[in-house]
């Protein structure tokens, strides 16, 4: 059911969301999130970044997150797209779209997928700043955001 893609290319948010509801009349709510490159982070100016990933595991981890979301909420369809490679401020990095009969399920699943993706999908950002390149450090707040969904009993992160 879920559509998962990892790619260097940008994506068309409107078209991806449209695909979740096209020719359907059972979708009541479509929640989505798009993450973009900001021009600053932790007080550093950011000129650009490069996203590294673990090919194979990345897709598998994203699919697993979608399976977990489907088990928790009543979902009709979903899409997760994550870019890799070089990006500049203003570029889209990631999008998640979730279609459901009801808005509560769509919202919750969309936020769950983003929280899990942030702590469980093998991507790493290297930022380019005026003082050189640096690997972005994981945020404790992302671990907190993930933990509020409770134990998924699928191992440590």
């Amino acid at each position: 059911m879920a559509r998962v893609r990892v790619q260097p290319e940008d994506f068309d948010v409107g078209r991806e969301l449209e695909a979740l509801t096209r020719h359907r009349t059972d979708v009541g709510g479509l929640a989505s999130f798009v993450g973009l490159v900001r021009d600053s982070n932790d007080g550093y100016a950011v000129k650009g970044m490069t996203l590294e990933h673990y090919p194979g595991m990345t897709e598998r981890a994203l699919e697993d997150i979608c399976v977990q979301a489907s088990a928790r909420w009543d979902l009709i369809d979903m899409v997760v797209i994550h870019r890799v490679g070089p990006l500049v401020p203003g570029d889209r990095i990631v999008m998640v779209g979730v279609a459901s009969g009801h808005r509560g399920d769509a919202f919750a699943a969309c936020e769950f997928i983003m929280d899990y993706l942030k702590t469980r999908a093998p991507f790493w950002k290297k930022e380019s700043t005026p003082s050189g390149e640096r690997w972005v450090e994981a945020r404790a707040s992302d671990e907190v955001a993930e933990r509020r969904w409770g134990d998924a009993a699928d191992g440590p992160v």
């Binding site: 590294e52 673990y54 598998r60 469980r120 440590p156």
Partner: protein, 85 residues
């Protein structure tokens, strides 16, 4: 033999992205025993996997932990906490 992969900052500080290593006696092989053998290589490897360092491990592309058992043919990946999204 198992295949070892290293990503992101860990790959850079070790200067290695991929290698193949022999496992120890199979019944006792775990991620922890593998990491112990890596730390014995030299100071750099010792430091990279020291208890104070944040590292993560996946076995056959699934998140794992030090107690996860290993068998010949496994793909073991080491990397820093992830920062996607």
């Amino acid at each position: 033999m198992v295949t070892l992969l290293y990503f992101a900052g860990l790959r850079e500080s070790l200067g290695c992205s991929r290698e193949q290593v022999a496992l120890g006696p199979v019944p006792t092989s775990t991620v922890a025993s593998l990491v112990e053998s890596l730390r014995a290589r030299d100071d750099r490897w010792n430091a990279a996997f020291s208890p104070g360092k944040q590292w993560r491990v996946a076995v056959n592309q699934q998140m794992a932990d030090p107690a996860t058992p290993l068998k010949p043919g496994d793909e073991v990946a080491f990397f820093p906490p992830v920062t996607g999204g």
